[in-house]
Structures are given as structure tokens and as C-alpha cells.
Symmetry: D2
Subunit: 294 residues, 4 copies
Amino acid sequence: MTDNLSGIFPPLTTPFTEDELALDKLLRNLRKYERRELSGYVLFGSNGESAFLTREEKLQIISSVREHTKKILIAGTGLDSIKETISLTNEAAEKGADYALIITPSFFKSEMKHHTFLNYYSKVAESVMIPVIIYNVPKFTNVNIEPETIIELSVHPNIVGLKDSTENPSRISEIVSKVPKTFKVIVGTASVLYPGLTGGATGGILALANIAPDECIKMYNLFCEKKFNEVLELQNRMIPVNRAVTAKFGVAGLKAAMDMMGYFGGNPRLPLEPLNEAQLIELKMILKKASLIE
Amino acid sequence: MTDNLSGIFPPLTTPFTEDELALDKLLRNLRKYERRELSGYVLFGSNGESAFLTREEKLQIISSVREHTKKILIAGTGLDSIKETISLTNEAAEKGADYALIITPSFFKSEMKHHTFLNYYSKVAESVMIPVIIYNVPKFTNVNIEPETIIELSVHPNIVGLKDSTENPSRISEIVSKVPKTFKVIVGTASVLYPGLTGGATGGILALANIAPDECIKMYNLFCEKKFNEVLELQNRMIPVNRAVTAKFGVAGLKAAMDMMGYFGGNPRLPLEPLNEAQLIELKMILKKASLIE
Amino acid sequence: MTDNLSGIFPPLTTPFTEDELALDKLLRNLRKYERRELSGYVLFGSNGESAFLTREEKLQIISSVREHTKKILIAGTGLDSIKETISLTNEAAEKGADYALIITPSFFKSEMKHHTFLNYYSKVAESVMIPVIIYNVPKFTNVNIEPETIIELSVHPNIVGLKDSTENPSRISEIVSKVPKTFKVIVGTASVLYPGLTGGATGGILALANIAPDECIKMYNLFCEKKFNEVLELQNRMIPVNRAVTAKFGVAGLKAAMDMMGYFGGNPRLPLEPLNEAQLIELKMILKKASLIE
Amino acid sequence: MTDNLSGIFPPLTTPFTEDELALDKLLRNLRKYERRELSGYVLFGSNGESAFLTREEKLQIISSVREHTKKILIAGTGLDSIKETISLTNEAAEKGADYALIITPSFFKSEMKHHTFLNYYSKVAESVMIPVIIYNVPKFTNVNIEPETIIELSVHPNIVGLKDSTENPSRISEIVSKVPKTFKVIVGTASVLYPGLTGGATGGILALANIAPDECIKMYNLFCEKKFNEVLELQNRMIPVNRAVTAKFGVAGLKAAMDMMGYFGGNPRLPLEPLNEAQLIELKMILKKASLIE
């Protein structure tokens, strides 16, 4: 059932022109991605600026993308409110989402522990029409869901996977060794794709795949062919790029790199700001050094 | 124009029965508060569990409360999305909210700096029909808005105040000394009400006022009468209670204390859990020690 | 016995020339401070760069300063190791230190809780020849000692005070209201001197007093004369300066400001670096704006 | 020259009886370790409670251990003070230490950046008689040294390696790919030994090796024999044990586990406290589940 949760999924960025949703640009990017061996797409991951999208915009995006691809669509529909999460997820399902990527709730940080996570995910999972993938991203939430909690949730019939965006792959191998085979763990950042796959992850949801989908796919394929040294070499080449489009320059950097690579990146939505000149130059140097541009 | 932003405002908790909004209980509490010398109410502060409420529930609450009071209503309508914030704020205004309490955006924590805050608050303020109060609460957002940013925003005609929920009153006195007289700073936690008022704050939005409104009002009045030693003494008596219903036991503790004090507290909404027996006993002891119950 | 723990104490910076201890410069500064109404001096506070001094250098400094002043000398002699703390404290006492300022141990951060603090401070206090002042400075230690722990320790006959370097004065008023009269609480940063005194603190150990001793003394005196508005006004004027020489520019900034104010500041010790040109200009502007220089 | 920096090194715990150094117990443990295929020992790692040892105790320990083994001895001699670090390192060298493990300085956290680290390590490395291994352990220091800084330092002739105790192996593979072959990177925690070795690390300094040296050695050997699935399986079995003796129960847990495994663990030094009954039972269960005890 969850066999399609493997391979590489770019968490698509959301294009804006004049700060308004630019669906045409999104579809233009999509056409390029469709020619690649990608397994599917994530809509409204963190870097999709889902925090800045309205509910209507989100639903519109799913509908449009669904019309133009037959690949797996994973929609980020998690919110702190269980009610809102259920209703958004079910609408997303109606528009064509295959899976719901549900970020850990995080407003009441100090209360987000084993039992509250069990409460939250069980309640959501039993009320939504599509399977749930847990999304752990402490960098944005300041909350971390422990392996033992994941393991307990993994037996729920409608909780089918985890996207782990920490850079600690020991979490992945530990979890994989203790969950049902049908529960898939997906690496959330390109810097640890290789050790993550080694630890039993079945794929990657990688911001980097927005700008370098071929390299991400190649790492995955090389791994499947057991050409481990080559995976590692490619990963090491990508690490500085990955850092630049995530930790260092954030969404603005990711979008600027897309522009440099021939996709439509554009500006992030307000209140975020685009990179300045000096940052653009530094970013270009990093892409050059990694041989992504000349 | 903002002269009514002074005195004590409880940030009302939201009652639930069987995890569903219980408006009748909210109104029952309101009737008791209406007999007090409170200046108004905050709806959907952090402890109002706004993170767990749907948009519809929020609007319903404003309408109901508006019908039953003539006091100032401040509605917490800030979200990361500027668009959603504007639309929710304007609907809240139509339902009767007098002010919008706008929490700092926080999803992209590392990008939330001077310029992004200026972008966010200017854009929101120029598009909403009611005046904006900035809400700084690093405990929940992991983001802190600097005094210099507040000072710059304070000249915007539709940004009229700040609720500061840090426990650092030097922020308050510094800000007060540099903003227009019409810009009001309100203390966000009872533990520093006295130094905050000393530094020029005009009132308090205090979780504690849900359970001990009279004591909060008394602190404020004693301060106005310049009976400083008495304010301090009362504040010291309240500090352990305040810590219990905030940092120590969270919303569940605040609601349990309301039950003990004759208000309707009830359970927090899922995924949060009510206090256990041992915690209830400890909480009761703390209330007793502070002479709030016998 | 602890009546002399009141008023203003500068935590002296340590001058270096060519990265070596420059005792003559220290004494030159001391002579200037001696003409002021300061209550005493702290040697090896955080900004005294005690982390970079050898044991021999520390003892040498105490001896020299002791020879040149009759005022109270408080020596920062706390280390993670209880044994080292006791032996250094007792040597410091022999050289003339009147009090030991003992920073919270912090290496094993997650273990530093109520009981470990009780173990540590009881053991140290019963083995040293001079009275102990607890030093809480989470900014440097990432550890915070709770009011209830301080309160429990305050009954120990050889633990006589607390320097609290948080910016949260509610800690101070709560602690003061629950400890013996002989236990003194001292404010650790100028930004909250006024609310701290209001809450019952008896004085301040203030980095700011290295560069603006007269202003610090004036704040204290105005407070004693109950000229509260004037204290507040002066404090507000000093807050940006205080921030510049602490959070913003660190020890390097404090020393640069000393140079600007006619004291010997010099460079911080390696590995720290002095301010660059742009930072020096910014710092000068801040001092000017506060009317400390022309 | 640094070829011996490979394989497994336990960072020896320091035994105490009645809170005093118990060298005989240390040597008893050493005899047991000597029968294993360990590459050497680390003295005064974090879990060696070096924060609680006096300089004299440290030197005594090196002398004693040196007398009883011909294996590599790595001594943790880093302190914030450059002067103290140099003098302690050189004394340690005289007593027989082969390498100095130098923890990142950390007192002035916000100043610990690229240039300060370059200043610190260059100065130390040029003044000590034995080669320096950089030690990065953010969990205890709240400071993180970036790959680019390590890479720059790796060309210094007397800086020969890194112990990285983060759980992020992408750091390791990136660093390995950019440093001279003679610069060795060593994994600092058993939970990521396998991905670390995969990324080019040459060995591990593992708290776990105090209680399960054979399992650690086996992981290393299996990796060398390219039996990757078996390494991973063994690593997954060890992860819960490793977490128990580090993050979960700290040094007290590590020592208690040593007692359960037939080594002398004993109590941690004051102010730390031994595990309580409930914790001991939980720990025993974890060791049983991992088949370390019956």
C-alpha cells in the first residue's frame, strides 16, 4: 500500500508574483519536474511557505497540480488545531492529495510530549480520509517527537510514515528497526540522505530536489545499485549547496537558486525578503563550486 | 483614543465540554467577571487555546461575548500568514472586536528580524479596520521582537500598543520612554506587573486575572494610589500562583485553578491533557498558601 | 554582618598588554574608582574574563588590589569542581578577598537541578573561610537556579547573598520576601537596577559601573532618596549603553567603552578579538546619545 | 603519524570512593579493557567527569594509566584559558599522554565563532608538545564549531583530528572530504558510529565502550569487513543502551551500567547523584533488552 513512498519527492516551493499566488509559474516548474524520475511531490512543506498561504490558496494549488500529474501528491495539512487539521486534510483529499504530511503541533511547546503526540495523531488519523505521514522538523517547531512515540504510533492503520528532518540518522535506523514494514521513513534533508537510506529510509523529501532533482535522483539510484562510494561523493558535493538553500539563506535562497537553475523561483512572500546582491553572489559561487552551474 | 488601554484585562480561557466549545460556560464566567472593575477582555490569547480553535469558533465567541459586555474586547487574530491575519481581523472587527492583538509571526524563526517584523506589522496594520496591538511572547514563539523594532512601529497610526509577555521590565521602561504617548505598553504576566507599571506600562493582560481578578485589580489600584509596598507584597504573594498557572502547569493548570476558584475551567482541548491527581493536590496547596482558597 | 553588601560594585575588567596581565593598568583604573562612592569591587566576574585567567594570575590580582583599597573585595572563585572551588576560594581569602562569588556549576547542564545545586553550594559553603554569594548568570551558563533553591540555601550560615544576572526582577522580589534579612540580593545588570532595588535588592554588581560609575551610584542614591522618576529616567538613558557593553559587543565592547571614558580598557584576551572600526563608531554614537561623551 | 587514531577508544570514567579518586578501581577496570582489542583510551572526556577533577588528580591519573598500558592515551586537557590549556597539556604530555583532546572554549558563547576558534586552536597547537584533537560537543558546551572552521584548522601541522559528538554524520563526511588524509575524524557517540564510519571517520570515542567494549569493537570490525547489515543491526540493538547511559541517565547511568556489567562504576562525584531505585530498574531492563545482561 505504501510502496509508492520511496524515491525522491521535491517539496515544491510556491511561486508568487507581486506577492500573489502564481499558479502558472508553479505549473511551468511542474512540467520540468515531470520529465524527471521523481516519485511525486510534496505541497506545502515548510519551504512551500505553507505558513503564509490561505486555506483557499492551498486547495487551489492541489487541484491544479493534481490535474497535471499522475504522481504521488503529499499535502502538508497539519495545524495545531485538530479540528482544522482534519477539515483541511479532508478537503485536500477531495482535491486529489494522496497522503497528508502532518507537522507536529508545537504552540504549547513544553506540553508537546509522548502523550500529547499520541492524542493528536490518533485523533487526526482516525478522522481523515487519506493516510497520515508524521512530519518532524525541530528546526521550525522547536519540538522533537521521540522515536518511542513514533514507534507506538506506527501501528495505527492510518499512520503510514514519517518525514524526519533532523540531521540525526540514528533516529531513522532505530525507528525502521522497530516499526511494521509498511511504515515508511523518509529522510527530510539531503545532507543525511545517504546515512538515512543506509538506516532503512525508503526515500527523501528534499528541498534540494527543487533545484537539483537529477542529482537527488542519482544519489537514490546509486544507493539502490549499492555504489556507496559514489553516493557519498555526490552527497558531499551537494552538502554546501543544501546548507545554502536551507540553514544559510532559507526559502529566499532556495528560490534564488531555482532562478539560477532555470526554474521559476521568484521572491518569497511577505514578510520574508529576497536575497540582497552580496548574498546572490555568494549563492552563485556555491552553486558553481558544486558544478551545478558554470 | 487609546486611553481605554489601561487597567486589568483577563485573557479569557475557552471552556470545552466533551472537547467541544461550551459558549454557555464562557458566558457564565463572563457574568462573574462583569461584576469586577476589569477594563475589558482578551479573547484568544495564548491561554485561550486559540491555537486549537477554528476560525468559525473564534468568530462565534466574539459575537457572543460582544452581546454580553460593553467593555473593551481585544481579539487575538494574528497568524503567520498576512492574508489570513487581515481577513480574520476584519471579520473579528465586524463581530465586535475593538482591538486586534497580533502575535509575532514565528514559523521561519531565524528570519524573524527587524525588517521582517516591519514588513509584517505595517502590511497588517494598513489593511485592518481596528487598531493593532503587537504581542510579544517568546515563551511560545521562540522569537523576540526588539525594542528598536517596536519603537519604529509605534509611529504607525494604526499600531497602538504592545503586550509584552517577557519577564524583563527593562524592555517596557525603555520602550515607553521612546514611543508616542498614545502608544500603550501592557504587561503580559503578573509576575512583573509592578515593575512594568513602574516603567510606564498602563495595565496588564494577565492569565492570573482569570482566577484572581480582584487581586490583580487591587495591585493596579494600589499602584495608582502610590502604595508601592503594598503592591509589591501582594505581587510576591501572587508570584507562586502565577507560576503554577503558567510555566509550571500550563493551560491545564490555569483551568483547574479556575474550577477551584468557582469559575468554570474544565479540561483543556485535545491534545492537551488535564492535570493528574498529584498535580491537582499541589496546585490546591499553592492556592491555599497564597490565601486564595481556604 | 552583610550590611556592607549594598550599593554599587563594579566587576572590574582585567587589563592586558600584549595578551599578558597588566596589573599596573588595573591599579591605574582602581585609583580612579577609589575616588568614587563605590561600595567595593568584584574581581573575576564574567566580564573580568576570569575564564581566561590562570589561578596564579587571579591570586596576584587579589593581592595587588587588596593592597590598594580598604573597600569590600568580592572574588569570583567558583568552578565546576567542588575541590578546586574550595581551594581557590581559600587562597583568595588568604590574599584578602572578603566574599566569594560562586557561579552555578554548569558543565552537566541537564543535571543541574535543585538537589545538585544544594549539594554543590552546601559542600562549598561549609569548607570555605569567607562567606559565599551565589552567582546566577544563565546567559553564560545556560543553567538557571530557581528561587526555591536559593530560598533553601539562604538559611545556610555561610551563604549570604545572591547576584542575579537575569533581567527578571520578579525573581528578586520573590526571593527577598522569603529569605532571612541578612541574606542580600544584588542586581547583576544595570538594565533592571531600579525594579531590582524596588523588589528589595540592596545593590548592584554592574558591568556598566566600569565605564559609568557615577551614573550607577546616582541611580542608587536617587532610589534611596525615593526620587523614583529620576532613577527611571537615568536608567532609561543608560539601557542602550548597558546593552552595547554587554549583549551587543561583549567584553570587547566594555573595554572599548572604558578607553573612550578615560579608563584603561585595552583588548580582551585571546581568543576574543577587539571591536572593529565600524563597531567602535557605533559604540561611540551610543555613548554620545547617552551623554556620556561629547 | 596519525594512523593509530583508528578503532575504538573508551573515554574512561573516573572511579570515586567516598567522593575521592579511587585509582585502584580505575586500574582494575583498565586490566579488563586491556584484554580487548581497543585502540587506546581517552582520559578526562566529558563522562570522565573532568569538570570535577583537580589538576593534580588529572596528572596522577595519566601517570598511573600510562604505567599500565602501551596503548594510545588521549588526554582531555582543554579549558577556556589558553594559558591553562597549554600548561596542563604539556604536563599531561610529560606524564605520558600521546594526544590532547581539546574541547571548544565556550564561556563567552556568543563570541565563539570562526575567528575566535582559529585564534584559540592555533595558539594552543603551536605551544603544546603533543598533537591536538579538536573536541566538539554542543550538548555540554552549547557551542558548535562549523565544518569550515575545522577544515581551515586541519592544515595546521599540530592539529591532527576531530572528535565530533553531534549526532549529525553529514558533518563528518563533509569534513573528511576536505581535509588532509592525515587529519582523522572520530565519531563521538555510538548512535551514529556506522554512518560516521561510512562518511570516512576512522574510529569512535564512545561512552558505550566503557560498558560494552566488545560490541563496539565488533561494530568497527564488521564495518571493516564490509558486513554493513550486521553493523547496522548491532548498532540498532545498542542505540537504546547508548541513550540510557548518555542523554537519559548521564554519567550516573553510565557508571551504574558499568557496575551491572562487571566493571567498577560507583557513584558520580558530587554534586551529581547516583541513580535511584526506579532508575536502576529501568536501566537494568534496557541492558537486558539489548542482551547485554540476562
